[in-house]
Amino acid sequence: MNEFVFATAQYESGDWDSAPLLPVNLIDSIARYTQLPVSPTGAIVPLGSSDAMRYPLLYLTGHLPVRFTSQERATLTRYLDRGGMLFVDDHNHDVDGMFHKTVTDELEQVAGKLSKVPTAHELYSAFFTFDDGPPNTSHELNGWGDNLIHPYLMAATRGTRISVLYSNKDYSSEWNFHPDNKRFYSVDNTRFGVNIVVYALTR
């Protein structure tokens, strides 16, 4: 069986690599909690490249404005049409920030309208169960960014399946630490990342 490779989308505008440790942290969590065959390192894939088709899940984040090139739009459209899933997280945690404004504009052009993911969605029970929907982050609870706690994630769907998952919760900050430092947490805050991966691979 082929192993899962966690891929970070590299886009031409903005700071795509603002959370460099998130991939390995989630890879560690996947190994720690599941038996999914997983590659020990992540991959970085240009969003405008057809190499993106090799990965079932792409992770995209940043702080700066996102303007996809026409090649990136075309590749992403094809990627989503073919069943890929894109997970986008606003590293600014700011609905008034330019990352949010520009990337949602781009995503709606490519994937259609983003709508709220209900807290009963199977995304929240794909592996771990989150009865209250997406877990809050310390950035939200500390009042950083837009000083809001976002109760919902947003998503665009292909059929009944999420094709683009969009988060304002700043998981990019929350999960951007070396996996060895999980030992300092009483409860692993990356568990929801496992749900995202399991959902992308199995739904």
Partner: protein, 731 residues
């Protein structure tokens, strides 16, 4: 009226009138004594009575004329209807109707002898309708005697208007009915009914049945584009199977037969057909989605596919600046040039910019537009502006994101917005050119990704405090765990030092790709400390290997000048790690303090960045596999459908269409149209072939080639792959 009036006048005007009236008067006056008493004789004799009768004479003339007109209308309408049923031309039928109408009116007037309506005849008509006159009116106006004068006085007081007026209205009833019936026959009767009647189906049931069974005939579709498109010409299609129109277009569909027994639906929405002469007509406005117009008549139906024509968003190309740039200082201006094209017309265009300032987790943004243009439906334009860098008051590290944006006039589904590629203009940070990072975004912090030196010091100090209460083995284990973290941090510092030196440098530096837990692929440097001189020599070699000499100042090489604080930290970390690994945390602390101080000096110098080379961390899967404290409980799932699951259904449907074509070509055409609508988005080539096939079948041509083409397109081409995809998706 005409008969009654003419009969009365013809028999009474010869002299019988006077005798009759005089005889009637002799016996009546005594009974009407009160009338005489209450109305004293007038000095003018019969003059007031005569005037009243003259007014009534005018009214009678008007009524006679009206009767003639009404009867003429009725007769003319009936004549038109009859001629229509006889199948004469439309001009001829109206001419014939006119002649008949005029003749009928003339006959009515003639029979009423309106020209002979004298005062006496009017009086006679009145006294016949008003019993209160006691047949004395004629005598009153004719007599010259005193008795006649008195009678005239009496008559002048008599009230005959009400019964006479009622009689006038009654006389108009029948002509009005005649006119209505004639109009109904002549004007309202559609040609199709006349045709049916002419064919011999006289009773209404038979007429309706015949109309229902009449063939649907061909449809004519006229399309008028929405106003914003400014497309003057209407498009007309005769007997179409497919009509393409911009969303918001007005579509007029006209049928060749009567509206009776004909119905139309647009998808599930019934449409109201209206008669248009002998044809039917329906109008509607197209939406932005595909739709199917179905027209039915008895057992016959016709389908017309309506396909929206997409109004393309403007195509915007940014020509200048041609690429992303880094400016050493926020001064000067940048020329901006973009071209815009649109299929129907450009409404506005402008350059948009966003300035992002800040770093780390704190960013602020400002945005604005430049060089805005409005256009009156031009289909191409060039946008020019100048970005004043001084005016933006940029700071080092700020990034200006530029793009051109254009909108079209589409007020139905739009406006369509087109954007160019974006360009990023970054202002360099101070000292940036001394280092390796010239990428667009600011570099992350040096110690962001690892357990910091300060944290390691805290852990070591805590361990020293607990040393007395712990066993030697426990303390050794804990100390070695800190040593591993210290090793990892040291290697990170090594990566920083050599990161600017390229691949060749990696061979010289401490660049093992491990997780710091003893699973590294050790290179030549791992396992032994380097003196600063050794490390610097290695860095110098690496510099030479890169083949790209770097700037330097004074007598130091750039590697030394830039990395000296980090080299100190590196070696201090070596010392600390060695002590920790030997279970001597107390001895490790001074070296750790030195390392921290060196790192802080390095950070203050703002010369160390990790940009472009994210830390490469390899997870030891076997070590961590299923070691998590929490337990997940995956819920059952349903497998996803194959990507081409829809293709099998479409192919089955195509087979049914072929069967239908063989059995009933007309139904087969409808099925082809519906299949075309279903596949046009996913399989446009197949849709094109199906459209051709429908046209060919409809016009009696051979559609085999088109159907084969459609079949091949729906089957999908042969895909050659060199290997299986990495995951379930098809590459």
């Amino acid at each position: 009226m005409s008969g009654g009036m003419s009969g009365r006048t013809s028999g009474d005007t010869s002299g019988g009138t006077s005798g009759g009236t005089s005889g009637r008067m002799s016996g009546d006056m005594s009974d009407d004594d009160s009338l005489t008493r209450s109305n004293p004789p007038a000095t003018h004799g019969s003059a007031p009575v005569r005037e009243r009768i003259l007014r009534w004479r005018s009214a009678l003339l008007a009524v006679v004329l009206s009767r003639g007109v009404l009867v003429g209308i009725g007769a003319g309408g009936a004549a038109v209807g009859l001629s229509r049923m006889a199948g004469v031309a439309q001009v001829a039928e109206w001419s014939f109707g006119g002649v008949v109408a005029a003749s009928a009116a003339a006959v009515v007037w003639r029979r009423a002898r309106a020209h002979a309506l004298t005062v006496e005849r009017t009086a006679l008509w009145l006294e016949e309708r008003a019993p209160s006159l006691r047949y004395a009116l004629v005598s009153a106006i004719e007599g010259r005697t005193t008795a006649a004068m008195e009678l005239a006085h009496a008559m002048s007081a008599a009230m005959w208007e009400a019964p006479a007026r009622a009689a006038l209205w009654r006389s108009l009833r029948i002509p009005a009915v005649v006119a209505a019936v004639g109009l109904l026959i002549g004007v309202m009767l559609p040609r199709s009914v006349a045709e049916a009647a002419r064919a011999g189906a006289a009773d209404p049931t038979a007429v309706t049945a015949m109309l229902s069974s009449a063939p649907l005939g061909s449809l004519t579709v006229s399309v008028e584009a929405p106003a914003y498109a400014r497309l003057a010409a209407r498009s007309n299609f005769v007997a179409p199977t497919l009509v393409r129109a911009l969303p918001g277009s007005r579509v007029d569909v006209t049928g060749a037969v009567s509206v009776i027994a004909t119905s139309a639906r647009l998808d599930d929405q019934p449409l109201g057909l209206r008669p248009d002469g002998n044809r039917w007509r329906v109008s509607f406005v197209t939406g932005s989605k595909r739709a199917l117009l179905a027209v039915a008549r008895a057992s016959e139906s016709r389908l017309v596919a309506l396909e929206p024509v997409i109004d393309s968003a403007p195509v915007v190309t940014l020509h200048a600046p041609a690429r992303d740039s880094v400016l050493r200082a926020p001064r000067g201006s940048i020329a901006l040039v973009a071209t815009v094209r649109d299929d129907l017309g450009i409404a506005s265009a402008a350059f948009e910019y966003i300035v992002s300032s800040g770093e780390g987790e704190r960013f602020t943004f400002t945005r604005g537009t430049l060089g805005a243009q409005r256009s009156d439906h031009a289909r191409a334009t060039t946008l020019r502006a100048s970005l004043d860098i001084d005016g933006l008051a940029l700071s080092p590290g700020d990034v200006v994101h530029l793009r051109a944006v254009a909108r079209d006039w589409n007020n139905i589904t739009g406006p369509g917005v087109g954007t160019s590629e974006s360009r990023a203009i970054r202002i360099a940070r101070a000292g940036e050119y001394d280092s390796v990072a010239v990428d667009q975004a600011p570099p992350p912090e040096a110690d962001k990704s690892i357990l910091s030196q300060r944290m390691l010091i805290n852990l070591t100090e805590a361990l020293v405090k607990r040393a007395r209460s712990r066993s030697r083995d426990d303390m050794l284990q804990e100390s070695r765990r800190i040593a591993r973290d210290q090793t990892r941090l040291r290697r990170q510092v090594s990566d920083i030092i050599f990161s600017r030196l390229g691949d060749g440098a990696q061979n010289s530096g401490e660049h093992s790709h491990d997780d710091g837990h003893g699973h590294a692929n050790d290179d030549a440097l791992v396992g032994r400390a380097l003196t600063p001189e050794q490390l610097l020599r290695a860095a110098e070699r690496a510099t030479e290997m890169s083949g790209n000499p770097l700037d330097f100042e004074h007598d130091e090489s750039p590697v030394v000048a830039i990395n000296r604080p980090m080299l100190e930290a590196y070696n201090a970390m070596w010392d600390a790690g060695r002590s920790l690994d030997g279970g001597e945390p107390q001895r490790a602390l001074p070296a750790m303090y030195r390392a921290l101080a060196a790192i802080l000096r390095s950070r203050n110098a703002e010369r160390v960045y990790l940009r472009g080379t994210p830390p490469r961390i390899v997870i030891d899967l076997q070590r961590v596999r299923l070691k998590g404290k929490e337990l997940g409980a995956p819920v059952p799932r349903s497998p996803r459908l194959p990507l081409d699951a829809s293709r099998a259904g479409v192919l089955a449907r195509f087979g049914n269409v072929i069967t239908a074509l063989a059995r009933n070509p007309r139904a087969g055409i409808d099925s082809l149209i519906m299949l075309r609508l279903a596949v046009v988005e996913r399989h446009p080539a197949a849709a094109s072939a199906l459209e051709s096939a429908a046209d060919e079948v409809r016009t009696g041509r051979d559609a085999t080639a088109s159907l084969l083409r459609a079949r091949r397109a729906l089957d999908g081409g042969v895909v050659v792959r060199n290997s299986l995809p990495v995951w379930g998706g098809v590459p």
